[in-house]
Amino acid sequence: MTIEIKKNADETIIEVVGRLDTITAPALDKTINEDIEGVKNLVLDFNGLEYISSAGLRVLLGAQKKMQKIGSMKVKNICEEVMDVFEMTGFADILVIE
């Protein structure tokens, strides 16, 4: 999994490519909680994300809870397989998906 952080005027965009699983999830967690401290509007670009497991979902849930308090968080470019997981776990409803 690779993580790339892009910032523009309004938003900070994190592009996640590869598999977000038990092994990789802690890396994303670290990025969100440490590397982008102070960001108000976070966008997660899952254009390259092909796989997500519950470990990844946990990171997303934690991020969602955090960003909800201080600003906003969006998720975009979700592939079909990941979307399936979001739907079966109800994440499709709690995340702001574009």
Binding site: Y51, Q64, K65, Q68, E81, D84, G90
Partner: protein, 945 residues
């Protein structure tokens, strides 16, 4: 004393015959032969007794009748009759060698009658059994009484002689015969160890009745006898008095007439002498005629002349009763003689007077005293009394007023006591008495004295005594008392027998019939009916009993029907508790059948899927029958199922079930069971046996064979029993047949068992039949073997067929250490395998997520801080395109499926982190099951691709 010999002989013969009857050769003789022998023997004793008697009044007192009575009463009717006839005939012909003819007929007939009586009474009264000695004696007495009556009857022409004989013979003969018979019976009773004392408690109606009847009869007999005696005694007195009076009156009249005539003659002569010579000396006349006194009385009644100077012209005849009678009488008749009586002038002097009228008026009276006329009369009196009889043996005696005998024999002039009469006071006083007196009077010729009865009367200065022997007076009384007593004995005896037999016939025999029937009813035969209709009471009793029995029968039938219904319900409940929906699974099939016996047994079978990959099946048999067994079966079934569903290994199921069943098992029931749990996908069968019959296993290409493993103890038999697990790998096409002992122990009428060999043979001959056909065929075969014999036990059969059509479940297996780092390897293995099944990428991805969740879960939690492996197996069924994933670990038992699903509708801030993984797994896979088996947490997941 002489009679003792035949009595003893009779007793000895009774003893001998009794002992002989115990002796085998004699015992074996036919009944009638024995009876003839006994009859002849006793006949001989009877004949002997006949000659061996005591002479009495020309006949012989003997105990001839005892032998026929003994034979008839003790040994049997025919023997009695035979000996009676022999004894009777002997008596009849014994006159030719010197026996008396006087009692010939009576004795012969009486002896024959004795035999007949003994025979008849034995049959009628004693149920053809020996009577008690008391009855024996009574019968002997009655028999002798008949004998005596016969003597009377056959000698009516000489009844007094007959009476004399009977009077003397009765007592010895009655006693002799009674003793002989009584002793004979006592001997036999003693030898046969009969109790002489009464057994306390209830006695037979017949006995009570006999006793009371006997008592009544005896009382009646005594009362009538006493009455007869008193009556006869009274009659005798009256009769005797009559006889005396007649004799007395006769003599009295004769004496009086003679006396009157004599004095009147003297008076006539005195009158003639006085009329021819008025101056004749009256004194001279008195001397001439031997008289005491002459009075000439004028028509006025005044004595004008007399031998006694002091009365001349001074005594008026009318002044005294005695003399006035003359005055009055002579006014109407010419002469008058007065009785000897005290004279009017001086009553201390007794004198007899006669008077005749004088031609010129007045009358002349003459008188003399007893001495003077007795001198003249004595001769006449002697003549009058001499040949006079009172009755047949009595006599009349006369004494003068000094009580000296006036008689022409040596007693003449002697005082009356010389013939034995001690004069009573009245007699001494010269007063007549009406009483009857007794005295022992001496016969002048024989000088023997005999008891006499007598009366006396003073007539004309004489004391006339009429006497009669007492025996003569009482003869009629005694004769009539004897006959009436004899007749009463006979009548009452006959009455007793008659009433007894009647009662027996009317009541006792009927009671016995009723009792016999009741006995049968009590023994359980409710189909008999009482049918005694000889009288209304018994008919009603019979009807009552019959209706009671039929009511009872109805109740029993109803109760039986109710029990049958209850059993039927129990059977229905039992059957309904058994699963009837046999799974038509592709990998296995189960078919089972239970045929309950009439009484509910405790057989059951059961099967259930524990999860998608495990099926449990068992057959069990509860000891005992009926509702308790059915109840126990329900309990056992439920407990086992509960335990099985908790996922523990089969041996532990039985171990725990045993513990639970042992609790509160007070009825001591137990269960045998064989239970198996099959891992469907692998074909691994784990089973345990609690004392049950070995199942029969058939391999796909082999034959049926008993699967004999070491069985554990029965369930519920003992606490703390641990069961062993056995394992077996089933291959597709293998079959297992389970059954209960109702199959192998089915029994035919010859008590042969169906048996294991026959079962195996049948199974191998029919091994290719489908289970649904096989079980009925087997049942049919068992029925054929058993035939008519009833089915005693439930018959339970179960066929388990392992098919596993899911071709591939050739699991691809791989073991990974349970560590997060290995995740890529795991997923790589999964993807690679799925790739080989031509699985779409999308599904591969989804499955990988699911597998990751399971694996990570194990890696994080299963082994705690320790290390362990995760066992992966992936199988594929090409037909159904289902992939089966088996993930097993040996860590802490934990069922992730127990974690509740998170609420996925909550907003983000309320969402929990946990539970998502297993949720994803469940939603991704088509089925997810968990089992803990053999120390492994096993997750089985199926996904169609």
């Amino acid at each position: 004393m002489r009679l003792i010999v035949p009595i003893l002989l009779n007793c000895i013969l009774v003893l001998a015959v009794y002992l002989a009857e115990k002796f085998v050769p004699f015992k074996k003789l036919p009944y009638i032969t024995k009876q003839i022998i006994i009859g002849v023997l006793f006949g001989c004793v009877s004949a002997f007794a006949s000659s061996y008697g005591v002479e009495w009044l020309g006949a012989v007192v003997n105990v001839r009748d005892a032998a026929p009575l003994s034979a008839g009463l003790i040994f049997g009717a025919p023997a009695g009759i035979i000996s009676g006839i022999i004894g009777g005939l002997y008596r009849w012909f014994s006159v030719y060698w010197g026996a008396g003819t006087y009692t010939r007929i009576a004795c012969s007939i009486a002896t024959i009658l004795a035999g007949l009586m003994a025979a008849g009474l034995r049959k009628l009264m004693f149920d053809n059994k020996k009577p008690t000695w008391g009855y024996g004696i009574c019968i002997a007495v009655v028999c002798e009484v008949i004998h005596m009556i016969m003597i009377f009857v056959t000698n009516m022409d000489n009844s007094s002689y007959a009476f004399e004989f009977v009077k003397g013979a009765t007592l010895p003969m009655v006693i002799g015969n009674a003793v002989a018979v009584g002793f004979a019976i006592i001997i036999v009773s003693f030898l046969s160890h009969e109790r002489f004392t009464k057994i306390k408690g209830s006695e037979r109606i017949a006995n009570t009745f006999q006793r009371w009847l006997l008592a009544c009869i005896v009382i009646a007999y005594l009362v009538t006898s006493t009455f007869t005696f008193v009556l006869q005694n009274g009659i005798v007195k009256i009769e005797t008095q009559k006889v005396f009076t007649a004799a007395m009156t006769d003599v009295e009249t004769s004496v009086k007439e003679k006396s009157d005539i004599q004095l009147l003659e003297i008076a006539e002569q005195v009158k003639r002498e006085y009329e021819s010579d008025k101056n004749v000396s009256l004194i001279a006349l008195t001397e001439k005629y031997g008289i005491k006194e002459i009075n000439v009385v004028d028509s006025e009644g005044i004595i004008i002349d007399s031998t006694e100077a002091d009365v001349i012209n001074s005594y008026d005849m009318n002044s005294k009763e005695q003399s006035k009678e003359f005055v009055d009488t002579l006014k109407i008749q010419d002469s008058f003689v007065q009785e000897y009586s005290p004279r009017g002038k001086d009553e201390s002097v007794w004198r007899k007077y006669a008077a005749v009228n004088l031609d010129e008026g007045g009358f002349i009276q003459v008188g003399y005293d007893a001495e003077q006329f007795h001198d003249m009369l004595n001769g006449f009196v002697v003549d009058v009394t001499k040949n006079r009889h009172v009755g047949t043996g009595g006599f009349v005696a006369v004494c003068d007023d000094k009580l000296n005998m006036v008689i022409d024999n040596e007693y003449s002039g002697m005082y009356i006591s010389s013939i034995g009469i001690v004069p009573p006071d009245e007699m001494k006083a010269g007063k007549t008495s009406t009483a009857i007196y007794y005295a022992d009077i001496v016969d002048g010729k024989t000088e023997l004295s005999e008891s006499y009865m007598y009366v006396f009367k003073f007539v004309e200065g004489y004391c006339i005594i009429a006497a009669m022997p007492e025996s003569e007076a009482t003869f009629m009384r005694d004769a009539s008392i004897y006959t009436s007593v004899f007749m009463q004995v006979l009548i009452f005896a006959a009455l007793f027998v008659f009433i007894y037999v009647l009662i027996k016939k009317v009541i006792i025999n009927n009671l016995k019939k009723v009792n016999d029937t009741l006995g049968q009813i009590t023994e359980g035969n409710l189909n008999v009916t009482v049918d005694v209709r000889s009288n209304e009471e018994f008919a009603s009793l019979s009807d009552d009993i019959n209706s009671t029995v039929s009511t009872l029968k109805r109740y029993i039938a109803e109760a039986a029907a109710r029990i049958d219904r209850e059993l039927e319900y129990a059977k229905q409940i039992q059957l309904s508790a058994l699963p009837r929906n046999f799974p038509e699974h592709e990998d296995y099939s189960i078919y089972a059948n239970m045929i309950a016996a009439k009484e509910v047994g405790g057989d059951f079978y059961d099967f259930y899927k524990l999860d998608d990959n495990h099926v449990a099946f068992l057959v069990a048999d509860v000891s005992g029958k009926g509702i308790p067994a059915a109840m126990f079966m329900m309990t056992a079934k439920t407990i086992i199922k509960d335990l099985a569903e908790s996922g523990i290994p089969v041996n532990e199921i039985l171990t725990k079930a045993n513990e639970k069943l042992c609790e509160n098992n007070e009825s001591g029931m137990f269960v045998t069971a064989w239970m198996g749990i099959l891992d469907i996908s692998t074909g691994k069968l784990q089973f345990a046996n609690a004392g049950h019959n070995p199942p029969v296993l058939k391999r796909a290409n082999g034959s049926f064979e008993y699967l004999k493993t070491r069985a554990g103890f029965v369930l519920a038999g003992m606490e703390g029993v641990r069961y062993r697990v056995a394992e077996l790998e089933l291959n597709p096409g293998d079959r297992i047949f389970l059954y209960t002992d109702g199959v192998t122990e089915a029994t035919n009428l010859e008590n042969k068992l169906y048996g294991e060999e026959r079962l195996l043979e049948f199974m191998n001959n029919n091994s290719n039949l489908e289970a649904t056909e096989f079980l009925p065929a087997l049942k049919e075969n068992i029925d054929e073997f058993v035939g008519e014999a009833p089915q005693f036990d439930d018959i339970t059969m179960m066929m388990f067929d392992y098919k596993l059509q899911k071709g591939g479940v050739q699991m691809t297996k791989r073991i990974f250490p349970a560590k997060d780092e290995l995740l890529p390897d795991v997923l790589g293995f999964v993807e690679e395998t799925l790739e080989s099944y031509e699985c779409s990428m999308k599904i591969q991805m989804a499955v990988c997520v699911a597998i990751e969740e399971v694996f990570v879960n194990i890696a994080h939690y299963a082994y705690g801080d320790g290390e362990g492996d995760v066992d992966f197996g992936i199988g594929f069924d090409e037909n159904s395109r289902e992939v089966t994933f088996r993930v097993a670990d040996k860590g802490t038992p934990f069922n992730p499926l127990d974690i509740p699903d998170p609420d996925i509708t909550l907003p983000a801030e309320e969402r929990e982190i946990g539970g998502l993984g297993i949720l994803i797994t469940k939603k991704t896979m088509d089925s997810v099951t968990y089992a803990y088996e053999n120390g492994e947490n096993v997750m089985t997941m199926i996904k169609k691709i």
